[in-house]
Symmetry: C2
Subunit: 325 residues, 2 copies
């Protein structure tokens, strides 16, 4: 139990390219905010110092003393040791076995907790966004891969040491396309933004998606959510079909998730969903509805995320509050 | 909080053909036990009276007064309203909207709780069997269908009103064989004992499984776990192959469950598994191991259930204790 006069929380989102730090008061109003490039290549010692520096500047921004801080929540990519607070393997950053919790607790003399960044995004939505008041919230975020998370009865659903809810690696197509994880037919191999962009690039190359060909080309790394949405809106029906098919695959996975975990709310989020919320949500919902056991009809809602990029950092601050208040 | 001198619990398993009642003391030693046919066709009013009578006889057996009873846990098939304690739809029995909890609480003047029978089997294993001391236990029971349940941090994992963990209805084969639920390609449509018996009957008919043909015939309702095991042991390699394939499908579903829920222990149970524990467990484990994300390697164990038919009734008694002690 912290002193009530403190009750100020840092939410931190450690991403592959940027880090974002926000200071919240007890009502989760923003008191200060800082963003820096992560610069993983500078190594993990420099990285830890950079994280600390970003938090210090956030406090300075708000005119708050370190001693007034109640706790820090930090969202991280990759496998984690949740209890020890160790970032085990962030290969994007080239960082391994980083004792984040210990470092931050020493540096700021307050409790710190780490969690998977996607889990914290779902936690943020469950506290302040599309999942408020639900008993069980599942979040699905199609991007380069497909991230997932679950908040069950107020807590992040987790493994013994690690996070879980790897929704992108539900097998949906036996002997399907190879996934980044090495398996075949994982959901993210057929329905991530990357899988969609790849199929759309082929359509553009074959001349079946003239708008996309002209405005996005055939380079995967250029075919992002915005141009995909514009391509659909400008009559590239093949691209629309590709996105529908991917959404159907997500819908089948959602139906398995409903049959398994009976969530109240399923939240779809990320840039792709934000660019085409109705098309994707509508298709996912229709497919899920068709595939669930009849006894789960009417027991859930499928919604679009409401907090955008803020979900994870807000979730991180709120998760610290939940654990340390 | 009950009086410590009481601390006696009824576990009750309401099955489609039989009901089983057991009285436990605080160490879950058996004090009394009764079994009766369910006789669902006699209607639900008679059914409730029969349940009460079975419990009364169990108490008499043990020489225990109704006033000494601390609580009743009862495992039921079909969709339930867990909080209200209503058996919503037991079509096997022809019973609908049966207010079990209310009836038992009035009849025995002690708290009662209902739960899905498979969930209680997993709960029993988690308290006294193959899942003791695990943080997250998932149970899978291939039979006529494929039942599933999960105990997460000491509690049965559940939906808002209903049970969940319908592992048999994970979709494993797009456009696969039709399932009893109306969908296609559900796990239980390809890997239940029923699916296995059906494929084995075809092999027998075609003359590819001579032992089975002679000792089991080609009638599905005669091809049960025992004769399938004997057929394998007596050289029907096609039948062995059928069971391996089904176990591989279960293994793929298990790998999705590990990627999603990161259980410590996965328990395989039921008559089919008991008849061929090594063949089924070995194949499931090998397939799961091949299909999980590498970060989950070594984080789980796959085990065979230890409590047999007693799991659900023991789980029912222990679940009452957990909720009411």
């Amino acid at each position: 139990m912290t002193n009530d006069s403190k009750n100020k929380w840092i939410g931190f989102d450690l991403g592959g390219t940027k880090m974002l730090s926000t200071l919240y008061d007890s009502d989760f109003e923003v008191l200060g905010r800082r963003r820096k490039k992560t610069k993983g290549h500078e190594g993990q010692k420099a990285g830890l110092e950079r994280i600390a520096q970003t938090i210090r500047e956030t406090l300075e921004d708000a005119g708050i003393n370190t001693s007034e801080l109640s706790g820090i929540g930090i969202g991280c990519p990759g496998p984690l040791d949740l209890d020890e607070g160790i970032l085990l393997d962030a290969h994007n950053l080239g960082w391994y076995d980083v004792p984040l919790k210990k470092f931050l607790e020493k540096e700021f003399d307050c409790p710190a907790i780490i969690a998977n960044d996607v889990d914290l995004g779902v936690y943020g939505e469950s506290r302040f966004g599309a999942g408020v008041d639900a008993r069980c919230v599942i979040g699905i975020f199609p991007g380069t891969g497909i991230g997932g998370g679950c908040v069950y009865e107020g807590n992040i659903f987790r493994g013994t040491k690690s996070s879980c809810m790897e929704i992108g690696h539900i097998q949906v197509m036996p002997n399907g396309p190879r996934c980044a994880c090495g398996q075949k037919g994982c959901l993210e191999a057929v329905a991530s933004r990357m899988a969609i962009s790849s199929a759309a690039a082929q359509a553009a190359y074959r001349g079946q998606a003239p708008y996309l060909k002209e405005h996005g080309g055939t380079d995967l790394s250029e075919i992002r959510s915005g141009v995909l949405a514009k391509s659909v809106n400008n009559g590239d029906t093949v691209v629309e079909e590709i996105i529908k098919q991917a959404s159907q695959q997500i819908g089948v996975a959602v139906s398995s998730l409903i049959n398994l975990m009976a969530p109240d709310i399923i939240i779809l989020g990320g840039g792709l969903v934000e660019a085409m919320p109705e098309l994707i949500k509508g298709t996912v919902a229709k497919t899920a509805q068709k595939n669930i056991l009849s006894s789960y009809e009417g027991t859930y809602k499928i919604k679009v995320a409401e907090l955008g990029d803020d979900a994870a950092v807000l979730g991180a601050g709120a998760w610290a509050e939940y654990n340390f208040k």
